[in-house]
């Protein structure tokens, strides 16, 4: 346990700019942009469909609360997520480049010889190098998102208070809390599907002598091209697309499409989808087959690490 903690700490220190600085900078940027735009715009004029004239967020909130009170907390939570989405744009890149670099860099800078002089097994090293980008990194990103959403809600609460709107409505804490956990659930399902692709990156990182980026991209691309040219079929490309997120299509058929207002949207995006996701994920042969491939890739990466000097 001590070793595990030390390895995780080391990986986070090594990837500090990826795992900590990137989300922190993007989150700060989000807050700054929000504050600036609120201060500069100050007053907005919106002609609502209901005919009312809304001058600012406070009045908008008041109007929404008056007309459709049951939609308020969903609308606010969705708005916070919309604002904090900027941080998550970096996330796929963080995962991609951390996995691709982790076993490659230690060979390139020869620090592998130092790590190998410690009583830590190669399987422990490789599994931690998978665990940190896949589990610790999203938790850090989520933590930063939660902090940002709380900061934003305090700021919005004050703004709305001064504008004479329903300030307390800016703190739909229950719903926000739910959304954090449910999004984590969504992430876990997505990760299970993407695991063979992610494990491939780890394997490339373990064997590539140089140019891991090309090694990661080129072989799948060549396979797809060969299949397309000689067999006129695209099952490999489709397989990759499904594992990258295409599997969610199946959910969309199952959930209601008559979205009427933020509450339905919230339910569709955040809560209703999850049970369907879990059901589809664990009942899919394709997903399990992908996991098996992922296990193979990780095993191969461990064997490569054992031989690497």
């Amino acid at each position: 346990m001590n070793i595990f903690k030390a390895l995780v700490k080391r990986e986070i220190l090594d990837g500090k700019s990826f795992y900590i600085r990137t989300p922190a900078i993007l989150a700060s940027l989000t807050v700054i942009l929000l504050v600036l735009s609120t201060l500069i715009m100050g007053e907005i004029h919106l002609d609502t469909s209901n005919g009312g004239d809304v001058k600012n967020i406070g009045e908008g909130m008041a109007l929404l609360q008056e007309k459709e009170p049951e939609e308020v907390s969903s609308a606010v939570t969705l708005m916070y997520w919309g604002i904090t989405m900027l941080t998550w744009f970096a996330f796929p890149f963080v995962i991609f480049f951390s996995l691709l670099g982790t076993l490659y860099e230690e060979r390139r800078d020869r620090s592998i010889m130092f790590w190998k002089s410690m009583p830590v097994a190669d399987w422990q090293e490789v599994l931690v190098k998978l665990f940190v980008p896949l589990v610790v990194a999203p938790l850090i990103f989520l933590g930063v998102t939660i902090a940002t959403q709380l900061v934003i809600s305090v700021f919005m609460g004050i703004v709305v208070l001064f504008q004479g709107g329903p300030a307390l409505e800016m703190f739909p804490l229950g719903l926000m809390f739910t959304s954090w956990f449910i999004l984590l659930g969504h992430y876990l399902m997505g990760m299970l599907w993407a695991l063979p692709l992610l494990a491939w990156l780890l394997l490339v990182s373990a064997f590539a002598g140089r140019m891991p980026f090309l090694w990661a991209i080129l072989p799948p691309f060549v396979l797809v091209a060969i299949e397309g040219i000689f067999f006129k079929s695209y099952s490999i490309a489709k397989w990759i697309a499904i594992h990258m997120g295409g599997w969610r299509e199946a959910i969309e058929d199952r959930i209601a499409h008559n979205i009427d207002g933020p509450r339905d949207l919230f339910n569709m995006i955040i809560s209703a989808g999850l049970t369907e996701s879990v059901a589809i994920t664990f009942s899919s042969v394709n997903m399990w087959a992908g996991l098996l491939i992922a296990v193979g890739f990780v095993y191969a990466a461990i064997e490569m690490r054992k031989r690497a000097i």
Partner: protein
């Protein structure tokens, strides 16, 4: 009964057609400082990598009761090494290195490492990237010497360091680290600097061990004679392994001929390890 740290039988390693190690047998007892000496590409690092579980091999190898190719992680509790190049992670701070080793290594003594470092100029809060080459080596040595290991392997440990530090290092290795419960294996090109601390030597050439001996034994085995004038023929009759002439006088090196016989030919002296190495490697000493 002698306790062995390393026992190798028929240890071989090939890279394609190149035989880096050709079925060598050797044993390293506990409580020795062994110098492994050989030219570049002779197989030193290949042999050390096998001992350290860093590469595969053929033959049988037992290091402190472990098969290194399968149990490197368990082995590293009792074995420490510094590879021949700077390997400390450049992005880490000095104190983070200590934290890490303290967390993963049960035999690491942090106070001892801090004591070693306090005698150097290595700053604890700096990143390794910012340290000079000498400081980086000092840090690595401080870490390694604070681990209570049974076997310490140093592959060119003082490469790129100035002479004062090299002297200090071997001094503290001898005085503060080495004892009868540890074995140290050192490879270096600066043979002169380590010969006074070695208890044993092993010469490697083209993947084979050409000589394995205790230092005391070895220095008595090889004797150099400044042959007196008129005794050249007598000297040649004893089959010197090498001959040279300086200031008009012949100098002959003999192996395994007793000193009294040689003393009749002229002035005798012991041969330094570097000269013994050269004499052995040029082929005549075998």
């Amino acid at each position: 009964m002698t306790e062995y740290v390393v026992e190798a039988r028929g240890l071989s390693k090939s890279f394609g057609d190149f035989h880096a190690l050709k079925s060598v047998d050797f044993s390293l007892p506990l409580g020795r400082i062994v110098g492994v000496i050989g030219a570049n590409g002779a197989g030193k690092t290949t042999m050390l990598n096998a001992i350290l579980g860093l590469s595969s091999y053929e033959g049988s190898l037992n290091v402190l009761g472990h098969d290194p190719s399968k149990e490197r992680d368990a082995l590293m509790k009792d074995v420490c090494f510094i590879a021949d190049v700077a390997t400390l992670p450049k992005w880490m701070r000095v104190v983070e290195v200590l934290d890490y080793v303290e967390a993963v290594h049960p035999r690491f003594d942090r106070a001892k490492a801090l004591d070693f470092l306090s005698r150097t100029n290595v700053p604890l809060d700096k990143k390794i990237r910012a340290l000079s080459k000498g400081m980086t080596v000092q840090l690595h040595l401080a870490v390694v010497m604070s681990i209570d290991a049974k076997l310490l392997v140093l592959d060119e440990p003082t490469l790129g360091l100035d002479i004062i530090f090299r002297k200090q290092f071997y001094q503290s290795l001898l005085e503060e680290y080495f004892d009868e419960d540890r074995t140290v294996v050192i490879t270096t090109h600066q043979v002169e600097e380590i010969e006074h601390i070695l208890t044993d030597v092993m010469f490697i050439k083209d993947g084979e061990i050409v000589l394995e001996a205790e230092m005391d034994e070895l220095t008595q085995l090889f004797i150099e004679v400044m042959v007196d004038q008129g005794k050249e023929e007598e000297a040649l009759a004893l089959k010197p392994i090498s001959r040279s002439s300086t200031f008009g006088k012949s100098t002959c090196v003999y192996k395994n001929i007793d000193r009294e016989t040689l003393a009749k030919l002229g002035e005798t002296r012991r041969l330094g390890l570097a000269d013994i190495f050269v004499a052995t490697m040029t082929g005549e000493g075998q």
